[in-house]
């Protein structure tokens, strides 16, 4: 291993360059690989930017506000997809946040360590299930369930609201939101649990000593203390939900129009790319799809950035006070 240093003969009089030892090589090699992460990310932005240029030049900012998506006349607008993406992700969070935070409270505050660890293990396994499997299950179980039972049931009670009106197809915004909820709560649970467990023990003890019940201590002391971490987990889940492709593609219904009803079929950015990319003909069509990818990229970048920041802030705060 030390042959490289032995290669320099001791008798040489002039040493014009510094000896290039193992440390410099190792530093340079790892630096190159680390820098490649930055380069790859820049390359991704650059490729998306270039390949979306025909659509960007043709439509400008109206791309984001136009409701029209017509490949035949070469007119493309992203609004129905933006709407679908935002609505399904919002529905997912609406279901997943209370469930996930509740489960995280149970795992960090109530369950015995052994039970908590094995349940957390199962939650992590759930996070590892490939999204196409969720889609497969959703097509054959959730869709009929929504169409035949849940949908009509909800409509009977709340049908006067526009969001629950109209024909129930089984596929649509609500079904996609539900499958997204199941796919995102593992992330909420594991990150929130960490945040809750980072809360110093003294905080709980002080609250309990003042006569608070365990719920009051949890809700009024522990949760506020860990709120940044929990918010971080929610943003992380939001970024996952916005970019989730396969499961949503299989149950969203593929209809590029905006519907008020949550039972109606819709479309999301990721789903339209997955469905139409290989079939797209013509430069404008393809570049419009790439531009959708660019929009999705920017959206998740921003949300992820916020999530990382929040998580960093809580861990710093937690360790400073512990």
């Amino acid at each position: 291993m030390s042959t490289s240093s032995a290669a320099i003969t001791p008798g040489t009089t002039i040493v014009p360059k510094r000896r290039f030892g193992g440390d410099e090589v190792a530093y340079l090699v790892t630096l190159v690989f680390a820098a490649s992460i930055l380069l790859v990310t820049l390359l991704m932005v650059w490729q998306l930017w270039i390949h979306s240029s025909p659509a960007r030049e043709k439509f400008g900012f109206s791309f984001l506000t136009s409701k029209l998506w017509n490949p035949v006349t070469d007119e493309f607008g992203a609004l129905p997809f933006l709407y679908g993406t935002v609505v399904t992700s919002f529905l997912a969070l609406l279901i997943a946040v209370p469930l996930g935070v509740g489960a995280a409270i149970y795992l960090s505050e109530l369950a015995r360590p052994k039970l908590s660890n094995s349940l957390t293990f199962l939650v992590e396994l759930l996070a590892a299930v490939p999204s196409v499997i969720f889609g497969l299950l959703a097509i054959f179980t959730l869709v009929p369930l929504m169409r035949d039972y849940v949908g009509p049931g909800v409509q009977k009670v709340l049908g006067f609201l526009p969001v629950f009106s109209g024909h129930i197809y089984g596929v649509g915004y609500l079904t996609a939101g539900m499958i997204l909820a199941i796919m995102t709560f593992p992330f909420i649970i594991s990150v929130s649990r960490e945040a809750l467990m980072a809360v110093p023990r003294e905080q709980r003890e002080a609250a309990l000593a003042l006569g608070a019940t365990q719920w009051e201590s949890t809700f009024q002391v522990v949760l506020p203390f860990a709120r940044l971490g929990i918010m971080g987990s929610v943003f992380l889940a939001l970024a996952r939900a916005l970019g989730e492709t396969m499961a949503v593609t299989m149950v969203i219904g593929n209809d590029p129009t905006i519907h008020a009803s949550l039972f109606a079929p819709g479309y999301t950015i990721a789903a339209v790319i997955a469905n139409e990319f290989t079939e797209a003909t013509g430069n404008t069509y393809l570049s419009a799809l790439v531009e959708l990818g660019l929009v999705l990229f920017a959206l998740t970048m921003v949300i992820n950035g916020v999530a990382q920041l929040l998580i960093v802030l809580t861990t710093k705060k937690g360790s400073a006070k512990a």
């Binding site: 680390a34 505050e109 992590e124 759930l126 299930v129 499997i133 969720f134 179980t141 998740t300 970048m301």
Partner: protein
């Protein structure tokens, strides 16, 4: 006063109970998924599934031998590209990283990790498929390796940082150079954690569908090289599941069961290794 305490107690019990319900509800979905896949897919996972080629719609039978092989091919190449890059980048972050540049790389790696897989598919398409004018397994592998790099880098970094400082100092005090210390003391000490992270990363990319949809596409037959469109298990599940044929649905369930079993087994094995034999107290 007492009635107020009764109410507080009731609220306490109710809300804590609700949290427990949340926990068991969420965890039970894993068993629902497993049970449903077993119920629908177990009977279709037979020898034919592993050895036969897919048949055209309308004909019953056939298997997914080409998709299994294709998936393996794509994932192996992705692993060969992604793991070394991620591993060395992780060493840089943990051992050599200065303040600003390492922070930047770390932040960007986390962002890269959060980019939707479908967008990574588009990028691989622009880089490989567009210049070559045809779909290929290589493009799929490239897309998957882009997902693997940040996962591996951050995992490696994390486990290297857990190696106690005294081990570094001991090695340096014996006169070993820094690179020597890293190669023969620090990395071996963190070996188990790093391996676990790598297995989890590979398991994660094996189940990815979206980046393969328009990079490696699909193939009715065995592919003969990296530059050909190649069938893969996740894409096959997707296309079979949205098709209108019953026999295709049956095969989608079987393929789903096989894929899930592989991914979960890899996860369980990796986590067992770390929980049992981890050489470091965590």
């Amino acid at each position: 006063m007492t009635s107020r305490n009764v109410r507080r107690n009731a609220v306490n019990n109710f809300m804590l109970g609700l949290c427990a319900v949340c926990a068991f509800l969420t965890v039970s979905t894993l068993f629902v998924i497993l049970g449903y896949l077993l119920y629908n897919g177990a009977t279709s996972v037979d020898l034919n599934f592993f050895t036969k080629l897919p048949l055209p719609p309308g004909q019953n039978g056939g298997g997914m031998a080409n998709a299994i092989l294709g998936s393996a091919q794509i994932v192996v190449v992705a692993t060969l590209i992604g793991l070394p890059i991620g591993f060395f980048a992780g060493i840089y972050l943990a051992e050599y990283g200065g303040r600003t540049f390492a922070f930047l790389v770390r932040y960007v790696a986390d962002l890269l990790n959060g980019i939707p897989s479908i967008v990574i598919g588009i990028v691989a398409w622009t880089v490989v498929v567009v210049p070559q004018h045809h779909f290929s397994a290589l493009a799929g592998s490239l897309a998957l390796s882009l997902m693997l790099i940040p996962i591996t880098a951050r995992n490696t970094e994390q486990f290297l940082l857990e190696v106690p400082r005294s081990m570094r100092e001991g090695s340096l005090a014996l006169g070993a150079k820094k690179w020597r210390t890293i190669a023969s003391v620090i990395v071996p000490a963190a070996r188990k954690g790093i391996m676990t992270g790598m297995i989890l990363g590979v398991a994660r990319i094996s189940g990815e569908t979206a980046p393969l949809l328009f990079t490696s596409l699909n193939n009715q037959y065995f592919s003969t090289g990296l530059s050909e469109p190649t069938a893969s298990l996740p894409v096959m599940i997707f296309q079979r599941a949205i098709s209108p044929f019953d026999d295709y649905h049956r095969q989608a369930w079987a393929a789903g069961l096989v894929l899930l079993a592989l991914v979960l087994l890899a996860n369980i094995a990796a986590r067992m290794v770390i929980s049992r034999g981890a050489s470091l107290p965590r």
